[in-house]
Symmetry: none
Subunit: 310 residues, 2 copies
Amino acid sequence: MLQDSDWRYKFFTKRTMGTILTNPATTIAEKLQQKFDSLTRAERQLANSLLDNYPVSGLTSITTVAQNADVSTPTVARMVQKLGFSGYPEFQSALRGELEARISNPIAKHDNWATTAPETHILNRFADAVIENVRQTLGQLDPVEFDGACTMLADKERSVYIVGGRITRALADYMFTHLQVAREKVTLIPSNSNTWPHYVLDMQAGDALVVFDVRRYEHDILKLAELAKERGVEIILFTDQWSSPVSKFATYRFNCRIEVPSAWDSSTATMLIVETMIASVQDRTWNITSDRMEALEKLFDRTKLFRKFI
Amino acid sequence: MLQDSDWRYKFFTKRTMGTILTNPATTIAEKLQQKFDSLTRAERQLANSLLDNYPVSGLTSITTVAQNADVSTPTVARMVQKLGFSGYPEFQSALRGELEARISNPIAKHDNWATTAPETHILNRFADAVIENVRQTLGQLDPVEFDGACTMLADKERSVYIVGGRITRALADYMFTHLQVAREKVTLIPSNSNTWPHYVLDMQAGDALVVFDVRRYEHDILKLAELAKERGVEIILFTDQWSSPVSKFATYRFNCRIEVPSAWDSSTATMLIVETMIASVQDRTWNITSDRMEALEKLFDRTKLFRKFI
DNA sequence: TATTATCTGTAAAATATGTTGCAAGACAGT
DNA sequence: ACTGTCTTGCAACATATTTTACAGATAATA
């Protein structure tokens, strides 16, 4: 029966626990608790002080830490060495590392996106970068501003104009296509800036102008924004983290992160914000939008442009 | 003496800043975002670096912070003073204070994308859906196929044609704009299908046709794909999870998830794949692409289309 | 284009921080 | 009580950090 081997069981258990407890102390807090028994009086005082409000309390200078724990500075220096760090700076750096891991979004350290591809495959590296862009963009985005812009775009009294630059033209086009379904009085300003004055001519005070401008910021777009602003047009700006100069004319500004491992910039995070904004506008104008969608369906049927498959 | 006007200057400065500050900046992150416009180039760089991995990145020495942001140490010292702190140590102490509040707060709000918006805000719901789309899309994507398509698009012997539908036209446009920089012989087929036969006429066996087709699948695009296929053109298809009928002519097919909480479909996941593909193609054609980019820069300079700000 | 104002990095000074040697103090075992 | 060992803080030293002064660079303006 088990009785006989019982002592062995306990023995091995102890051994096992011993190895667990001596080796893989992942966090400094664990290390402190583990070594607590072997610590001296002053060191225990210090350890308690550190664990209290961990890990922030350890992020001040060694002097301050010592004062908070009511021990001398050398005691701190000696104890962190006991913990296996070369010195206080290294200890602190480890603390920061822990904190970072704890703070950062769990999505960010998703295993692999393309599960059958290696971690270093561009699919995974690119996806990582884009998700990080999304995280940062949304983290910095003010929901009140966002809602404000949506309300403005949902206001059927205002005409809406949309303009993009060399790269962002595609985003402008995309937004236009969807907003056009949601409401009337939406105009896509073409990329040829020669014709822009004609569009400005039609703009009324209170109209909305959606501007896409990321680096390299385009001079003509700045001029257009200025002219529009002078006519009392409200400007909604989509730009990058460095902010287009159009900012100074903008009522609402959205900074989207665009950095990816490539020679140019990513529009995916911006696209996400644009899509969310379209969705939100459609929600607000739903009584109108649903009618328009239905009418659109009928038009499609009559032009036979689309056919239902499957 | 300057003293008199100095006082006024400060007073008005304060007033002006006061209006900006009406929504009180509680955190340093908010302060940074609020003051972003009044910051200089190096300071913006620094602000971005600080917001990146906020607030942990600000808990190192001023030297390290400067290095991470690629600015000089004094720039950091000056900016924290601009933010209203007496010096770097005070700034850091404020950061620690925030962190403490955030850490000790039992409500972990790291789950939300837009941290200041409620979970049910469309920003969070939409982001959740899109990230899930990305996850699923990449999970199902075959890296070998992906690499195959990239190699094909990087082959400078082949001409590349790109075509999109009503909604996906923007994606086609986007891909075209970038591929055109990377290599020659890239053509965007316009959305008006009347002109399509002319394009088919030019297609040679071995050329590549990138087709975007998501629901509602478009009849004309299917026809175009069929004609192209008959001429020996290789087709790369971007479609949704239900697959466009173009599949049967396609050499490579990429199914992208498109479902979001709205009346229409999201293109963000598709955009991500497209961008990754462009990045990969550029990698493969880098010796050519870098030359083209340089030439393009020079052309920009000569046309004065873009101006460098700040 | 020249001029002015502003920005930004280098370098050095001022200050704070971290480390180590040393002696006084605490404590356990004889 | 004595002895030896271990612990602890003081103080000096070495090092790193923060600040300040200055000059070159850059952008804005006329």
